[in-house]
């Protein structure tokens, strides 16, 4: 029973559920209370301790069905209670494995599928199948398990048969070998599916969050917006706490005295003034022309996933004319909104000067000393007038300007890039071309504006 639960928890963990030791102990206790007879009872009992959000419950349910479909037969046939009785499980397993090794042929010929499965499970443990990480390892593990089950003896038998010229027996044994290999391969492939679906995803996500956004492929968008959601959740949980702390202000003497009148004027309870948190205002201006469209897309999605901690975001998109897209993001799903933004405003030839003029016109007086202006783009203005004078007025009215450029610093200012002329008006200018960069930047920005 311990083994089964351990395997099951291992599988759950590799499917992105965080299960602590204390929770697995709980699960053990639950199993000993409930027993294994009733599958559905067992399922929802285990879910109380092993899956603690709605999403986790869904994953749990899927894993449970997959896992017990395969192993439940073994559980039921009393293999487990026996094991508990015999304390020396290890030795017992090894003995059995020895038996299998010597009698692989008979095992295949005589016994039913269940005992073959049991034998395979036993050999799999010997071959450390639980360590399998990638799909490409299937062949290797198949071979390892086959070895554990006694491939050597089978090969020897085949060799001997061919030396003796017993072709019929040789054929028969070869058939057995092939069939067994297929069975084992199926088994390993199943296990891989069960165990690696998550770790493979994890690898992919890691790679994607470091990848240059300009290279992102359409097929990756879905995973990437998942990553953005995760990052946003992380930032929200970190920053919502900070905000609450910084809200407490000085001692409010008047209310403290009033409150403590009931204690004869002795100051037992303290009342604190609340400092007004300056709600940071953020204005983002994003270049959505071909070259930087992808970066803008993800940046916009990111900003609008953070409404819980930065409620006052206004976003503008431009290629040659700037337009506000805030409403789009507020009324629609962020992925849809991002796609529509690119459709509406992308495609023109970039003109930074015009964009700054438009931005200033659209904002009018809605820009003040609390406003952070973020500009995202490659600063390539097609040799048009960059209108640094307008940028300067924006800088004077606002708290600060932050510039994000997806191009590496070495090419800033080369060709039609006006980056070097923009830098003097920006409090910070940064390279930003991967999701990780984006996260770090947004984290920084919130830290300095709350």
């Amino acid at each position: 029973m311990v083994d089964f639960l351990r395997d099951f928890i291992h599988i759950l963990r590799s499917s992105d559920l965080r299960i602590s030791t204390s929770e697995s102990i709980d699960a053990m206790n639950i199993v000993s209370e409930i027993g294994l007879e009733d599958k559905s009872l067992l399922k929802h009992s285990l879910s109380f301790s092993l899956a603690k959000t709605l999403r986790e419950k869904e994953i749990f349910s899927e894993c449970f069905d997959n896992f017990f479909e395969e192993n439940y037969m073994n559980l039921k046939e009393g293999k487990l209670p026996q094991k508990i009785k015999e304390k020396n499980t290890e030795i017992n397993d090894l003995d059995k494995l020895g038996d299998i090794k010597n009698n692989l042929e008979e095992l295949y010929k005589n016994s039913d599928k269940t005992s073959l499965m049991t034998a395979m499970a036993l050999a799999a443990r010997g071959a450390n199948l639980q360590d399998i990480k990638l799909f490409t390892q299937v062949g290797m593990f198949t071979r390892k398990i086959f070895d554990e089950m006694g491939l050597e003896k089978l090969n020897n038998d085949i060799f001997q048969a061919s030396r003796e010229g017993n072709i019929k027996r040789e054929e028969e044994l070869k058939n057995i070998r092939e069939n067994l290999r297929l069975e084992i391969r199926d088994y390993v492939e199943n296990q891989v599916k069960l165990r690696t679906s998550y770790s493979g995803k994890q690898l992919r996500e890691d790679a994607l969050s470091q990848m240059r956004l300009t290279q992102a492929d359409k097929s990756d968008y879905k995973i990437m917006s998942g990553i953005i959601r995760k990052m946003a959740r992380r930032l929200i949980s970190v920053h919502s706490r900070r905000k609450r702390k910084s809200q407490r202000g000085l001692l409010d003497i008047r209310s403290t005295i009033r409150k403590n009148q009931e204690y004869d004027g002795i100051l037992f309870e303290t009342i604190w003034k609340k400092t007004r948190v300056d709600r940071p205002k953020i204005v983002a201006l994003c270049d959505v022309s071909g070259s930087v469209a992808n970066v803008s897309r993800f940046f916009l999605m990111f900003l609008h996933s953070l409404t819980e901690i930065i409620p006052n975001v206004r976003t503008f998109a431009f290629s040659n004319k700037a337009g506000e897209v805030t409403d789009l993001f507020e009324s629609k799903d962020i992925e849809v909104a991002a796609a529509e933004t690119l459709l509406l405003h992308g495609g023109g030839s970039t003109d930074y000067g015009q964009a700054f003029v438009d931005l200033e016109g659209l904002l009018e007086n809605n820009i003040d000393r609390k406003t952070t202006v973020i500009i995202l783009g490659d600063a390539r203005s097609n040799y048009g007038d960059p209108r640094c004078d307008v940028l300067k007025t924006i800088q004077e009215k606002s708290k600060r300007i932050l510039f994000l450029n997806p191009e590496p610093i070495s090419v800033w200012g080369s060709g039609d890039s006006e980056m070097q002329r923009f830098i003097p008006y920006c409090s910070k200018s940064k390279v930003c071309n991967s999701l990780n960069n984006l996260e770090n930047f947004v984290d920084d920005m919130i830290r300095s504006s709350i």
């Binding site: 709980d26 209370e33 027993g35 929802h44 109380f48 603690k52 508990i84 919502s240 004869d264």
Partner: protein
């Protein structure tokens, strides 16, 4: 061994069924899922964290458990700014002050008896202990639950509304069922209380707290269960109307609404339909009473064009 196992399983199943039927007697209809959670929390001595949309009976579950076990229900409603003084214990400052005022003369006597400063401080020190004794301690819900003689059911309602700090503070109490009061010492209960925490998921509950609890998610009930709940709560309802009403509400939950109608709202609606002497659902009537089910004007607007359709379906 295996025989033993079967019998213990049998008894586990029996206890779960027992819990279910007992709840039913009190008018709390639940599925085996919920009953199993109650059974396990009792046998493992673990708190239960109950989550689910508002109005599916999370608080009712605690009440039903208290009634079934014949133990007092102690309820702690969480809100932003809830702290130890309001949740655990507080000194009765006023009473302490009053007593020192009233006993001024007595204190003078005692102090005047002693001849040196040192001995008078010693004397006063003894009083200190008197003033910080259980006489002057005002127990709040958590302490009450731990101290109660015959055990109790503690309901910590809407834990998601409290601050992170309070959640951290709960950890000691939930894992050891004890409280340390600096002036008195550690208070440990004789009988572990049965603890329910409820959450509407307005914010994510910390992992540390979740780890210490069994987690029960109560979704909206299926039509069958909802019908049972209605007939238990509103027994006078016409059988035909009941089926229609439940189907209608279930259909309403499939629409894209801001706040889905909950079980308690279904019950309210059933009661009002009974009062209005309704035998079967009619569009005009549903429109007039829809505000019992839906609490946002936008939701009412969204569902308005669907009403005929839903009624049609619910009658099948």
């Amino acid at each position: 061994m295996s025989n033993n196992k079967t019998s213990s399983n049998g008894s586990a199943k029996d206890s779960i069924e027992n819990i279910q039927s007992n709840f039913e007697k009190q008018g709390y209809i639940c599925n085996t899922h919920i009953a199993t959670a109650i059974f396990l929390s009792q046998s493992l001595g673990k708190p239960i964290l109950v989550e689910g949309p508002p109005g599916v009976g999370k608080t009712e579950l605690a009440k039903a458990t208290a009634e079934w076990m014949e133990k007092p229900l102690i309820r702690l409603q969480c809100y932003e700014g809830l702290d130890e003084a309001k949740a655990l214990y507080e000194w009765k400052y006023g009473k302490q002050l009053l007593y020192t005022q009233v006993l001024k003369d007595k204190l003078n006597q005692i102090v005047s008896k002693s001849d040196s400063l040192e001995s008078s401080i010693d004397n006063l020190n003894n009083f200190d202990d008197i003033f910080f004794s259980e006489k002057f301690l005002e127990p709040r819900p958590l302490l009450k639950a731990i101290e109660s003689e015959n055990g109790s059911v503690l309901l910590i309602d809407e834990i998601d509304k409290s601050d992170d700090e309070f959640e951290a503070f709960l950890l000691e109490i939930l894992s050891d069922y004890q409280v340390s009061i600096p002036e008195i010492g550690t208070v440990k209960g004789k009988i572990k209380p049965i603890v329910f925490l409820t959450s509407n998921n307005t914010r994510e509950i910390g992992d540390a707290l979740k780890r210490r609890c069994l987690h029960l998610y109560i979704p909206f009930p299926d039509p069958f269960l909802e019908e049972k709940i209605i007939s238990s709560r509103v027994p006078e309802i016409d059988k035909n109307l009941k089926v229609q009403l439940v189907n209608f509400v279930q259909g309403l939950r499939n629409l894209d609404l801001k706040k889905l109608p909950s079980v308690s709202e279904t019950i309210d609606w059933a009661r009002s339909l009974v009062l209005l002497n309704v035998k079967t659902l009619e569009p005009s009537l549903v429109r007039e009473t829809l505000n019992i089910l839906l609490k946002f004007q936008t939701d009412i607007d969204v569902s308005d064009p669907e009403i005929e359709n839903l009624i049609e379906k619910s009658k099948k």
